[in-house]
């Protein structure tokens, strides 16, 4: 019987297999950041163990760094200590680090692909659940905890029980204005936040193949929001073209050998998946969340659901609690929901294409007077590219704030936070209670919806806006 390509990647990394034990899997790339690593480094030190492969390890500062005043020392002493701890650990153990202010600094899941370090068929781990992002290249990439971070530092391996496989096939073609973010929000709403538990998802089908690398990363990024360990997309010409010429991509004969291998990373025709889900791209419209987990989403054209209509008592209770936290009334059209803040950024939607798409919407328009809009590039390279294209000018002319790279308001570990009761439209990945700041309320959206919402002052799609330069922003509702 044939194999799925996830299984092929797994098999190619088995160091040791013994009956009744987990497989010992080799890890090709270990990404490290300041938040989930200090205890792991301490553990190594206590046990007197070295880092086995510093040359397969790379670190960046992203989770709690400020996005303004980055040339100054971090003012929060607890954040500063954590960042300084990473610097000390990396210097001592010979790990390459891109600190704040460095041209390559940025969100860990943005810089790996950007540097060409993420390649098809690799195993990639990081102490961060959105490591699934790298699956867009056909890598088996998944988030791990701090104990496992220590394990990888010490051994460059992990003991793992094989994941089950799930195919998510997206047929047809996305309509204009419908993006990868809408696809993945629809997938999560369909299978639920626990639907992917124990699985690695392979995204396939015409609509997936048509996506750019940036868009594929958005899809794979949120696999964890469906509970899956990893999401993968088989590498193809789009993948190879993205990688060609990147700093760490193979060259010459190595490139040819690599591409030949990468082409073999396809699911065999006679392979079977443990579960299969099919979605029709043609029927998808922009998606937004109304609740407090990423599965609680609906098409933007819909209304806030009525929990009374839920058959399952647990789902009803969850929806009631979510609407209470979100301060929403059942039956309200989603487009009537006004927001205070728009956040454009994160490892989900902080790449150059995301900024270009949003800039196109705000060009010649103004962010509504009641809204603050934060634009936070995913990396300093993305920032530089955007500035070279003049995107920063478009955003600031519209009244948005243009920041430096980091995780920022996706998780509110740095000063970029929602105030209690404040409501956001956010291109990030989690709408959990308090995720973007204590008492904050989050609606997950695509970059296009984020930009249109910033202009309209309420949840909106670009098509809802008056032509640029004709109507004042605040008359939209």
């Amino acid at each position: 019987m044939g194999k799925t390509f996830a299984e092929k990647v797994w098999e190619a990394h088995v160091v040791r297999r013994a009956p009744g034990e987990p497989d010992l899997l080799y890890i090709d790339l270990h990404l490290v950041h300041e938040v989930t690593s200090p205890q792991a480094f301490d553990g190594l030190r206590l046990a007197g163990r070295p880092v086995r492969r510093p040359d397969l390890t790379i670190a960046t500062e992203d989770h709690n760094v400020p996005t303004e005043g980055t040339e100054l020392p971090i003012t929060d002493p607890v954040s500063r200590l954590q960042v300084e701890t990473l610097r000390k650990n990396c210097a001592e153990l010979g790990i390459r680090l891109h600190p704040m202010g460095d041209a390559e600094q940025g969100i860990v899941h943005v810089i790996g692909p950007q540097l060409g370090l993420t390649q098809p068929g690799m195993t990639v781990v990081c102490g961060d659940s959105h490591t699934s992002t790298h699956g867009a290249f056909g890598a088996l990439a998944f988030g791990i905890g701090t104990s496992e971070v220590e394990h990888v530092l010490a051994t460059q391996t992990l003991p793992l029980t094989p994941f089950r496989t799930m195919a998510v096939t997206v047929t047809g073609r996305l309509r204009p204005g419908v993006t990868a973010k809408d696809v993945i929000l629809a997938v999560i709403a369909t299978i639920g936040t626990g639907g992917g538990q124990g699985y690695v998802i392979e995204y396939r089908g015409e609509a997936i193949q048509a996506l750019s690398m940036e868009a594929r990363m958005t899809v794979c990024n949120m696999s964890i929001e469906a509970g899956a360990r990893a999401g993968m997309i088989a590498p193809d010409e789009t993948t190879f073209e993205f990688l060609r010429g990147r700093p760490h991509a193979p060259t010459g004969a190595n490139w040819d050998a690599a591409v030949a291998y990468w082409r073999s990373l396809r699911t065999d025709d006679d392979a079977t998946f443990d579960a299969e889900v099919v979605l029709d791209a043609d029927t998808l419209t922009p998606y937004v969340t109304w609740g407090t987990n990423p599965g609680q989403g609906s098409p933007l054209g819909g209304r806030v659901p009525d929990p009374a209509e839920y058959g399952d008592p647990a789902a009803r209770a969850a929806a009631e609690k979510a609407l209470s936290y979100m301060d929403l009334t059942p039956g309200t059209p989603l487009r009537d929901i006004r927001v205070d803040t728009v956040f454009l950024g994160s490892c989900t939607n902080g790449r150059i294409e995301d900024l270009r798409a949003a800039a196109e919407v705000v060009r010649g328009r103004r962010v509504a007077g009641s809204v603050r809009m934060l634009v936070v590039p995913g990396s300093m390279r993305v920032k530089a590219q955007a500035e070279a294209e003049g995107l920063d000018q478009i955003f600031t002319a519209a009244g948005a704030q243009w920041r430096s790279a980091g995780c920022s308001m996706c998780l509110g570990m740095n000063p970029d936070q929602l105030a209690p009761g404040e409501r956001s439209a956010s291109t990030s990945n989690r709408n959990f209670e308090g995720r973007q700041g204590k008492g904050g309320r989050t609606h997950l959206v695509s970059p296009l919806v984020a930009a249109a919402t910033a202009v309209a002052g309420h949840l909106a799609a670009p098509a809802d806006l008056a032509p640029a330069g004709l109507a004042p922003a605040e008359t939209e509702d």
Binding site: V15, R16, E21, L24, Y26, L29, T36, P38, Q39, D42, A47, R49, R52, P54, D55, L56, N64, D76, L81, L117, M122, G127, D128, S129, G143, I144, G145, S147, E148, H151, A154, T155, Q156, T157, P159, T193, G194, Q197, G198, I224, E225, G227, R229, H248, A249, P250, N254, A257, A258, Y261, N293, A318, L411, G412, M413, R430, G434, R435, K438, G439
Partner: protein
């Protein structure tokens, strides 16, 4: 890691599903560089904002078994969630379904996460609310949860059970196979990137 064989304690009924790790411990507590001292962060938003939240009820003070709804530990991979539960005094979490990364983290750190069916969770919620002094025993050796006259078998693979019962360090176990790792490294293709 501390050995785990059997544990008997009182329980806390957490009548919520889909408890994400941002709720278990908000990101603001993740700036610390230590592995202990996270008890104050455990469910801190719910403890602060919801007077009726179960951990605010002194009837459950000193309990060590958390009984939660399905999909416990979703979201962020932060192992701090496990450490916070342990620092607060929990040794065991019972739930019909755990998120994968949280489950992995818990079993690496010696917090026993036990899968039990929803009807067992429902029954435990009712019983514990009626009598918070109910003793709940989690017996890893026999893979059983016992309370009152009830005995509920649970599944856990032999390898993980052995590791927990012996309190073994995973890294130490892997380092026994370091020769196999070196051998594997000799076969890795030349095109694979290094970070240097």
């Amino acid at each position: 890691m501390e050995k785990f064989t059997t544990h008997t304690g009182r329980a806390v009924p957490l009548r919520r599903g889909n408890v994400d790790t941002d709720q278990i411990i908000p990101a603001v507590y993740l700036k610390r560089v230590t592995r202990t001292g996270f008890a104050d962060g455990l469910f801190s938003a719910w403890r602060a904002n919801e007077p009726d939240f179960v951990l605010n009820n002194p009837r459950y003070d000193g309990a060590s078994v958390l009984v939660a709804g399905p999909d416990f530990g979703t979201g962020s991979s932060r192992e701090h969630a496990v450490w916070a539960l342990q620092d607060y005094g929990f040794r065991v979490v019972l739930s019909p379904r755990f998120a994968d990364i949280f489950r992995g983290n818990s079993l690496k750190s010696g917090l026993l996460t036990v899968l039990v069916p929803q009807d067992v969770v429902d029954e435990l919620w009712d019983r514990v609310e009626a009598d918070p002094s109910l003793a709940v025993t989690v017996d890893l050796e026999r893979r059983q949860v016992r309370y009152a006259d009830r005995v509920v078998d649970f599944e856990l693979d032999d390898y993980t059970r052995w590791r927990l019962m012996e309190g073994l360090d995973d890294i130490g176990l892997t380092l026994r196979h370091v020769a196999a790792v070196s051998e594997f490294e000799r076969t890795r293709p030349a095109w694979l990137p290094t970070t240097m």
